[in-house]
């Protein structure tokens, strides 16, 4: 269990590498902050105190609040139904309930809007986003339900509580962290969502920033809005951080918990089966039907194999490069945080975590201008895009690699060194092999996230580079629904492995998914 060594000195190169990664991760925030300061309070006031900002704030906050509440209710209800009742075919239902995660929200938006043009505005955005994101609540709640000790509930029954009352007073409070954590994650996703909301014609800060960017490239109004958006994200992130700090509801004792006794549904079985079926039909059936229809009958359906192939190749190359760079960048951060705890290490790790609150639109905007002004050499290169991916998805790699390193006993290093191995050789021959699986898992997660990334890719992709996401976007925003369909299909296929991975993980997920 011992993971720290206090007597060991932190090697300078390691510290330097970690600091470099932290600096990179802070570039977008630094850009927004310094630009906002440069605008000056008077102009900033004029940019922010206008009806348009109030409108965007109203839209963004009301949609976030509505979707967070709806996903919380839907997520808990479905999790209880699948985990705690004798609903027929529970395992199958579990897979189907998670399946919407394999359809990126912007593909889901396309599926709905291309099927029925009246799906738009608040109602359309609310429906599509809720159906896309409820698994973010469902999954951690299921995981929590599986870990709860049924003995607590049984005690409540033995003291005369009804099942309903026991659920309300004993089970629900224990689910609270999972529900709130999941809902906050939905909020963070929603604040970053661009493609779906743009297709569904519901302006929020993210879509408005993109519109300003499209009209002014580097306008003060865009950056001022980015500042507001980052603040909103930070509020959610801090709330989530606080919540995680005191998440101490699970059993403390060791050993395996018994499974809970499933609630017999009786005659309720059929209506509830209907409810589960309806959710799956809306969340998975409609996108599958719409996509299939456009693939088969779309009037502009084409299968330009060379273009599809080029977009797929560019996507795979970028995602591979991004996965490698991001995972490598995570190593010094994690190594410092686990093996050399201290103020510097904590600051470095927290810096990378801030990226959780940075939507792709902000990272894109920041890197376009920062690179142009500071390092014109990297401007419009694939390297810059890879750096953006690293910033966006570093938290994912850090969380995964950290879990691996924490389980590599430091005493093995000590043994190796006492037997005469140098620190580098120890890292290579002892520690690295131990954390290799977590490095692989981290890289896989990042790879999958990059391959469906839209917003930053739109702004930063090098001249001539077209990815699956940008090709899909270009076709679907020009209403060439049939032409968009093969790209949408590939985007879904690419998202399936990550969904399966998430489904298998029994722990509440806190990583951001592709928005």
């Amino acid at each position: 269990m011992a993971t720290t060594t206090t007597g060991r000195r932190t090697p300078l190169p390691l510290l330097a590498a970690g600091a470099l990664v932290a600096l990179l991760a802070l570039v977008p925030l630094g850009y927004v902050a310094s630009y906002v300061v440069a605008i000056g309070p008077v102009d900033l006031w004029h940019l922010l105190a206008r009806p348009r900002i109030a409108e965007l704030l109203r839209n963004t906050v009301s949609l976030a609040a509505a979707c967070m509440s709806a996903t919380a209710v839907l997520g808990v209800a479905l999790a209880v139904l699948v985990e705690r009742t004798d609903l027929p075919g529970r395992r199958l239902w579990h897979g189907l309930m998670v399946a919407p995660l394999a359809v990126p929200a912007f593909v889901n938006g396309y599926a709905w809007v291309s099927l029925d043009r009246s799906v738009h505005g608040f109602a359309g955005a609310f429906g599509v986003v809720t159906l896309s994101y409820y698994p973010l609540v469902y999954l951690p709640v299921v995981a929590m339900l599986r870990r709860l000790d049924p003995a607590l509930e049984e005690s409540a029954w033995s003291l005369g509580h009804s099942r309903a009352r026991t659920f309300r007073t004993v089970v629900l409070p224990q689910l609270r962290p999972a529900v709130l954590g999941g809902a906050l994650l939905v909020g963070l996703h929603l604040l970053a969502e661009f493609g779906a909301l743009s297709l569904l014609r519901f302006p929020t800060f993210t879509t408005a920033i993109y519109d300003q960017y499209g009209s002014t490239f580097n306008g003060a109004a865009a950056t001022a809005m980015a500042g507001v958006l980052v603040l909103l994200c930070l509020v959610l992130l801090l709330a989530e951080l606080r919540l995680r700090g005191d998440r101490r509801y699970a059993r403390l004792g060791r050993g395996a918990a018994r499974g809970a006794v499933p609630l017999p549904l009786g005659t309720w079985r059929w209506p509830l089966l209907g409810v589960a079926g309806a959710v799956v039909a809306l969340a998975v059936g409609v996108p599958a039907f719409s996509l299939g229809r456009w693939l088969v009958v779309g009037t502009s359906t084409e299968f330009p194999l060379d273009e599809l192939g080029a977009a797929l190749a560019a996507t795979v190359v970028l995602a591979l490069a991004g996965a490698v760079v991001t995972t490598l960048a995570a190593v010094p951060v994690v190594w410092l945080a686990v093996r050399h705890r201290g103020l510097a290490s904590t600051v470095i790790e927290r810096s990378t975590y801030v990226a959780n609150a940075l939507p792709g639109i902000v990272v894109g905007l920041a890197l376009v201008v920062a690179s142009l002004r500071l390092v014109p050499l990297v401007y419009q290169t694939a390297g810059l895009l890879v750096a953006a991916y690293a910033i966006l998805f570093l938290p994912r790699a850090v969380v995964t690699v950290r879990a691996g390193l924490e389980q590599a006993p430091v005493v093995l290093d000590d043994v190796a060194q006492s037997l005469g191995l140098g620190p580098l050789a120890t890292a290579r021959r002892v520690t690295l092999p131990l954390i290799a699986p977590s490095l692989g898992a981290g890289a896989a997660l990042v790879f999958l996230a990059i391959s469906t990334e839209l917003t930053a890719t739109l702004m930063l992709s090098p001249i001539g580079t077209r990815t699956l996401a940008t090709e899909f976007w270009s076709a679907s925003s020009e209403l060439r629904y049939g032409a968009a369909a093969p790209y949408a299909l590939l985007l879904v296929l690419v998202s399936i492995p990550a969904t399966v991975l998430l489904m298998r993980m029994d722990t509440p997920s806190t990583e951001r998914l592709p928005a």
Binding site: R117, D211, F217, A314, P433, P437, L439, G440, G464, T465
Partner: protein, 342 residues
Amino acid sequence: MTTSPRRAAARVSVTLAAALLSASALSGCGVFGSPDLVIYNAQHEQLLDELVPLFEEESGLEVELRSGKDLEMANQIVEEGQDSPADVFLTENSPAMSIVDNAGLFAELPETATATIPEQYVPSDRSWTGFLARSTVAMYNTDSMTEADMPASILDFADPEWKGRVSFSPTGADFQAIVSAVLALEGEDATLAWLEGLKDNGVIVQNNLVVMQSVNSGEVDAGIAYSYYWYRDRAENGNDSDSSDLYFFGNQDPGAFLSVSGAGILASSEHAAAAEEFITWLTGTEAQQAMAESYALEYPLNPDANLNPEVKPFDELEPPQVDVASLNGPQVTDLMTAAGLL
């Protein structure tokens, strides 16, 4: 655990090495290679995707396109300054050309490049040239409206009687060009008042295709756009145009504004000869005729090119007199931001 940690480590390093190798290999064979001519293209991507291969075949040059919107790319080029990778800039509308021109970043075009284009579509210093024109129109739903119900002027859409009945796309370069024409013809105060009225009345959508769709489906009675969207849809299958028709304001109304797509060469270009060859080709009869026969249905500016006769003839448009070389893009975005449209 079935695999030893040692072997897992080896597998990870092999994967990483393979990834880096394939990335560098792909970059070597042209996925991220360096071209003979870089075009910053704000015109429709589909049009250039059709045109560029023709030019590549004829010239033997390799062309790279970067696509974006008019004002985004114009401001981007200004921000990039001398370091801009762009050789040629193509726009949908001329206000974006003025932004780059005002920053002094265009090179003078050779006379041969503009010889075929009527002089009112080329700035007097030949800093850029028009190569296509597009006419502003209103579309109206033929189930709920007749031509007689349409207003005399595009400015009337700001009147309360149009509340909830008119759609437009304020983020589109086209609408922003129309605003620049209104600004040039009517002045700042009238333009802001018009924009505020439209903000109150309008159904805001993300591009002109959705404008057409919203009119045709009856979601709104009328929409502001350019004519070619409707002609294109009619030529393809009419799915989004079968219940609507075009309304030309004519009569020199701001709503009859004729916008010009521009082409220019950046002074910082390292491929100036290729860039001149491209623009000369673009304004020449062959390319202009190819554009006229393409899906685009915009008006070619070279008088020798003949457009599909279904499209309302160029000389019947009665556009207002606007100097296409002096339209003000930045003031348009400021006014639109002030009106809450951006």
